[in-house]
Symmetry: C2
Subunit: 348 residues, 2 copies
């Protein structure tokens, strides 16, 4: 059960919220909370209690693990240092996952947003250590290689959405390669053989990883790799729009876009020419960006970045619940979110 | 100087970041940080120092107030309880503004995301009080009326992006009415007289406030209010797309959309019919949603929700820096962000 967006169940689902249950049962969030927390000092009809309990069971709501361990008179801290909670809708999901997981284990999350200012970062880390945090998650708003800040040198810490080659730091990142592979497979399965990849111009693990996944999928399907079909595009709507003319010359039937914003621009380029998706061009995006992907016409088949899970996994590694070796980089799967931008009747 | 989006200066600008300065000076963020913080134990050429200092001055960078007061061995806490950091790109800006302002005054922000679960909310507030927070900001992801949670009853607190009529709570919210007015004025100034308002179907201060502002602007321009021109639309792309046929029948020349997502759907509806923006229809949105507004074709004229400023103002009120009376609701302006979806040559 996924709570955000309209896609089907990803492999690592977002948690069911009281909102979901309330909607399913047709009652208020407060009512669900009373039932979920076993409160009997509230007047509710048996029918209502039963309906809510049924919805809680059906949706698989996890009873209030969040709050249960939160207050013990001994709450300890876990720190999260991030370079940009405000620059992207995604970073919020990392914080959300980290907080939920921290609370489950009796820890409170201290969050510091640094805007990537090394001085602010330094002071934020010092502040956290002064508050005797159990450890620190160091997170970036986009997946990238970093150098571990000196202030973290002797701290217990885990890198989230970033990694530091050659260091001892444990890291958890999205599996870009697997994501690129499932995106491309989706197009191959529909019979497409000339598939363009609108890759980003930014050097990043997403750029190299998604390309590797694209090549993996082609190779597994026995389709030769044609470097001419890989196009560099600015990773936004303008990049997708501008790339159309080159796609036309390449005579492709499908395009895997580096992200949903590129796909959105490409949609616009097709629409002004009176062309249809997926019949004139099948399209797959990446990110499952909430305000865009499900709301394009047609809704966009894409791949989900597992930000909530990155935050949660970071906490589990930090607390030793998921033991991983020093220096290891854990990769979390990016599940496919199928919608309607890939043709279903094209198989050759 | 605005750091996000491509619009011109709003009335309450977002702060200049080291990133902005680094881009302007053509150097790394680290280099800017060294110069901004007056570090002399780093080898930089005089030319570089000069260029960075020039960019710092030009852009009006505020030297590192953030970190300066952060670590004193006596950092105290301010709490922020929010019902949805993860459900919207906006909530992150409230947290960002609150954190920056808290740090400026030697406080650290404790953030709790509750998903609107009353039980989690209760425990989060208890946790914060246990940590002896100086006070608590209680914030919602969309502007709405609330009832103050009982756990906050005797706490020092400020409501952010919400308000509680009849209570003593001080609140800071966006000025929806002023926002609706400037959006409509922008269309009136270009000579439009039959202006539709695609309002949301959700009962909310945004729904009533923006409508009041639309009416204010019409009245001030001597244009009669025609209730038939106010259309209820789902506040997303699907709502904007579906509303087109009714707009056509109403024979309007311009539309003020409740939010940018509605505008995006309306763009699609026009495009599939071969119609042009702004010549066939002038459009204004609301929200200045980062991944959408500046990247539509043409870029969307819209109104900015002042989320960063709401978070910062909440902290200033909480700490008594901006003294306001008990029970007062402070309204922050929503500045216009002019782009290209309103015709410039239509004045009558």
């Amino acid at each position: 059960m996924q709570t955000k967006g309209s896609g089907p169940e990803p492999t690592t689902p977002a948690p069911v919220t009281l909102h979901d249950v309330a909607r399913a049962a047709g009652v208020s969030v407060a009512t669900v909370s009373y039932v979920a927390n076993g409160r009997t000092n509230v007047r509710l009809s048996d029918a209502t209690r039963l309906r809510v309990q049924q919805a809680l069971d059906d949706l698989g709501y996890r009873p209030n693990a969040l709050a249960k361990n939160l207050v013990k008179g001994t709450s300890k801290f876990v720190g999260l240092v991030t370079d940009g909670v405000a620059t992207t809708p995604f970073a919020g999901q990392i914080i959300h996952g980290a907080q939920d997981e921290a609370w489950r284990h009796g820890f409170v999350l201290l969050v510091a947003n640094t805007d990537a200012d090394p001085q602010v970062e330094h002071e934020a880390i010092e502040m956290m250590r002064e508050h005797q945090v159990r450890g620190i998650l160091y997170s970036t708003w986009y997946h990238r290689e970093i150098t571990v800040p000196p202030a973290l040198d002797s701290a217990e810490m885990v890198l989230v959405n970033c990694y530091a080659p050659g260091s001892d730091a444990r890291a958890v990142v999205p599996d870009e390669r697997q994501g690129g592979r499932v995106a491309t497979e989706q197009l191959l399965e529909q019979g497409h053989r000339r598939i363009a990849f609108l890759n980003t111009t930014w050097e990043s693990p997403a750029r190299t990883g998604r390309l590797a996944g694209y090549r993996d999928a082609l190779a597994a399907a026995g389709v030769g790799f044609d470097p001419a079909l890989v196009i560099d595009a600015e990773p936004n709507q303008e990049g997708g729009y501008a790339a159309y003319e080159e796609l036309r010359r390449l005579d492709v039937t499908a395009a895997f876009c580096h992200n949903d914003r590129v796909a959105m621009g490409l949609y616009d380029a097709l629409r002004v020419r009176g062309l249809k998706i997926p019949t004139d061009l099948a399209i797959v995006g990446f990110d499952n960006q909430e305000v865009i992907a499900a709301h394009l016409r047609p809704p966009l088949t894409t791949v989900q970045l597992p930000h909530y899970e990155l935050g949660a996994a970071g906490v589990r590694i930090l607390l030793g619940i998921d033991p991983v070796p020093t220096g290891s980089v854990s990769k979390l799967a990016c599940p496919l979110v199928p919608r309607e931008s890939v043709a279903s009747g094209l198989a050759d």
